[in-house]
Symmetry: C2
Subunit: 141 residues, 2 copies
């Protein structure tokens, strides 16, 4: 199971972006400064976000990134998926149905991880960028 700071940074950066992209594109430099995330690392992350059509880029001076969808359409699942954070726990071969560890039967925890995966994914399905924006209004800079 992976849920590390790459996913966290992606969310932080997108929330930042959502707040400031009303008129102009937002540069990674600004996000980097405001959120305290390395610029080079942000570029890696945004490259993936772009490939997954979560953001659009505008090159050249005064360029930057803008959201490609409404904040309420961007679910956290989408974000994590984009940056390769796999919310995934089962090491067992899924396709085989039985025989997780070379044995003839499903390993005893197989169903458990499946359930957990669903549980977590549901949580992320139901959270959008918009929810985070509202949630943090009071602590806004």
């Amino acid at each position: 199971m992976k849920l590390t700071s790459k996913g966290r940074y992606a969310v932080m950066a997108l929330v930042d972006l959502a707040r400031f992209d009303n008129i102009n594109p937002v540069s990674l430099r600004d996000i980097s400064l405001r959120q305290g995330i390395s610029l080079d690392y942000l570029e890696q992350i945004f490259s993936k976000l772009k490939k997954n059509e979560i953001v659009k880029s505008i090159r050249g001076t005064q360029g930057g990134y803008v959201l490609n969808k409404n904040p309420n359409e961007i679910k956290l699942t989408n974000i994590f998926h984009a940056v390769d954070e796999k919310v995934k726990t089962v090491q067992c071969k899924k396709e085989s149905k039985k025989g997780c560890n070379g044995k003839a039967t499903k390993c005893v925890t197989h169903n458990l991880w499946d359930e957990l995966e669903v549980h977590i994914n549901t949580f992320f399905e139901n959270k959008s960028l918009k929810d985070l924006l509202n949630n943090n209004q009071e602590t806004r800079v």
Copy 2:
């Protein structure tokens, strides 16, 4: 966030143990063979489970491990906690309340990870070893 095979092995091993400890203690060697987990690695795991009073050990020939509680009293939370699987996502300093990344305000995702942590922990609070035993009766060896 960590939820790796150490936690998975711990659960697998304890389910195995719960099935076979009716009369005699169960040796790690047997668990190792049945579950396909390295004996040396199991020893590390059980050392922690013992420290956390989830199992008891009986030394000497015919020795092994037995559960220290009823299966329905052993929650998955307890197991993961014992083997140092931290179901924990926030990198931010919790105690500081504000100032996650050296900034003056809470980072925008702070509340999110708190929520997720609660969400996952609830899942594990509500699952006991007994649930897993029942769940897998049909695929039993």
